[in-house]
């Protein structure tokens, strides 16, 4: 199945000479530079590679169906997590979040997952390993995580917003449990027309969250004190109250 192929190829041709003032205070400018089919176990996607002027990271969009010029496009922002996405780490739930988002998108006619290459939400894998080491020593890591770069970066949203604009998406339905993500994207000029709750099916590995939920009141579980909030999204597992 071929979706939206020509429209995406046209974006690459259009962006060849693209220069702009940029988005946000960090003045991020991005260009779509390469497009190819990416068949996945979740469904058919097109992979769009972006260049940007602020970091040396190669951010990508996984595009399902026709999205150029469309409204109400389901969109998920995912921050790269080598340990979770690739290695299947149980220190975080990034892999569950990634695969569930791709399933949600592939079930519908269209959608986009922005895969943002900011390992550890900040300055890299080395600091993430350092943060894990601090946890092992039983040290208070809230302040340490901040210093090591585990926090939302205004730049993340500026890049994401500009990628969505480059794809010609007119409005999005954000797959998230995090109201702040909606606010930040809106500030960068993205029209957020709605939200799709991001709910992960329970399995033997994320039972932890359900147990934690039983011990604490409220469904929005703040795990930042014990774990790194690598996806800046509170975890919701089926069986919890949906936010």
């Amino acid at each position: 199945m071929r979706q939206d192929g020509d429209a995406l190829d046209e974006l690459v041709a259009r962006d060849r000479d693209h220069e702009c003032e940029g988005y946000g205070s960090s003045q991020v400018c991005v260009r779509a530079v390469a497009v190819a089919d990416l068949p996945t176990r979740f469904g058919a996607f097109r992979l769009v590679g972006f260049w940007n002027n602020r970091d040396s990271k190669e951010h990508v969009a996984m595009v399902h169906g026709a999205v150029v010029g469309e409204e109400d496009v389901p969109v998920r922002l995912h921050s790269e997590c080598l340990t979770g996405d690739v290695m299947g780490s149980l220190r975080c739930d990034c892999r569950d979040q990634l695969t569930e988002a791709l399933r949600t998108i592939a079930r519908g006619p269209r959608g986009v997952l922005l895969y943002l290459r900011q390992e550890g939400r900040g300055i890299g894998l080395l600091n993430k390993i350092r943060a894990y080491a601090l946890q092992e020593q039983g040290l208070d890591t809230v302040e340490a995580n901040r210093a090591l770069g585990f926090r939302d970066d205004e730049r993340d949203y500026a890049v994401a917003a500009h990628m969505l604009k480059t794809l010609g998406i007119r409005s999005v339905r954000l797959i998230t449990n995090n109201p702040d993500k909606i606010r930040q994207l809106t500030q960068h000029g993205v029209v957020v027309a709605g939200r799709i709750p991001h709910v992960i099916p329970p399995n033997e590995f994320n039972r932890f969250y359900l147990e934690t939920k039983a011990r604490r009141s409220g469904h929005m579980i703040d795990l930042t004190e014990k774990r790194l909030a690598e996806q800046s999204d509170p975890v919701v597992v089926e069986g919890m109250e949906t936010p």
Partner: protein, 341 residues
């Protein structure tokens, strides 16, 4: 009864001064102490035979608009774009200094003009060495050599990570947030640099370039043609800075200045072997290893009600004077935000 301060900053380098300046501008009572005789830390200009020589940082560079504006505001004679003539293909101490979009400059009066300008109007006590800290059950205190204690609501350490770590280790019964701070400080090490100012007759056949990073030397990382920054200099002045690894191996060998000069003569010509005057300096903590770089300064609450802040060139991305300045200002912002809350 110890002298009371709202904020006490230990370390009058660029990070400490930027922090103190931003706090003071917001109306906080702040004072700074440093064990050295002058402000600026590694942003150092010494007079050798009456001629200013930049012994540490050779020039200033950055891209943050606020930082560049701060450099612009210094009432000194700027040398915008210095160094224009860069020679050699060795790795610069900070490769990002030569990326497109990076602003570079020096001052005729020396790079120390920048920290001196930051320090204006701020109470800076020099020649005072902090021996140990007390952080347990009341407001934090810095105990100086000789026993004098200074108490503050917020104690800021704006020092090299090793120096901050040593002071934190000196605090008896330090609470758990301090252990976290120590662990963070212990994750990466500073690199030393042996640095030598050498003065030659102004008639000497000096190099055509302003800065050289020799690729063919394991000894010399940087040669700076310092007198090209001065107006009508009496001497041709060079500053030679050694690679971290060589510096580590030779720091305790008294003949290191001769070895450094011999290498300079091999690379630049025989004239460089025998200067008229020389001024050696050992920078034990010249710069931080970039792999240990952090995203922001650290501010932790202490059980006694006070706070402990850490800033410095390691506590902002990019390293160097710009990171030091940004981290100091960011820490001041966090201290003020917590007070307002």
């Amino acid at each position: 009864m110890p002298l009371g301060e709202s904020v006490l900053v230990v370390g009058a380098g660029v990070a400490g001064l930027a922090c103190a300046r931003a706090l003071s501008a917001a109306g906080a009572s702040v004072s700074v102490i440093d064990r050295a005789r002058g402000v600026g830390g590694r942003c150092a200009t010494r007079r050798v035979e009456g001629q200013p020589v930049d012994l540490g940082v050779a020039f200033l560079h950055g891209r943050d608009p606020d930082f560049l504006a701060a450099l612009e505001s210094v009432p000194a004679t700027p040398l915008p774009g210095w160094p224009q003539e860069v020679h050699g293909t060795g790795r610069p101490c900070q490769p990002e200094a030569f990326r497109p979009g990076e602003g570079r400059r020096a001052y005729v009066e020396g790079v120390n003009a920048f920290p001196r300008w930051l320090a204006r109007g701020i109470g800076v006590r020099l020649g005072a060495r902090v021996e140990r800290l007390e952080l347990s059950d009341r407001l934090p205190r810095a105990v100086l050599e000789g026993g004098e204690a200074i108490e503050a609501e917020t104690l800021v350490l704006a020092l090299a990570p090793e120096q901050s770590g040593r002071l934190l280790a000196s605090a008896p019964a330090a609470p758990s947030p301090v252990a976290t701070a120590r662990a963070l400080l212990g994750m990466a090490a500073s690199e030393p640099s042996l640095s030598l100012a050498a003065l030659y007759p102004s008639s000497a056949d000096g190099p055509r370039w302003q800065v050289c990073y020799p690729s063919e030397s394991t000894v010399l990382q940087l040669a700076s043609h310092d007198s090209t920054k001065r107006r009508a200099p009496r001497f041709l002045a060079m500053v030679f800075q050694a690679h971290p690894r060589w510096s580590r191996a030779h720091a305790d060998r008294p003949e290191w200045p001769d070895l450094l000069l011999a290498e300079a003569a091999r690379l630049l010509g025989a004239w460089a072997a025998a200067p008229l005057h020389r001024h050696p300096h050992r920078w034990r903590f010249a710069r931080t290893d970039r792999s240990g770089e952090m995203a922001s300064p650290l501010l932790v609450r202490l059980p006694g009600g006070g706070r402990l802040g850490l800033c410095g060139d390691r506590f902002a991305p990019g390293g160097g004077v710009e990171a030091a300045w940004l981290s100091g200002r960011a820490l001041a912002g966090r201290i003020l935000a917590e007070e307002g809350a």
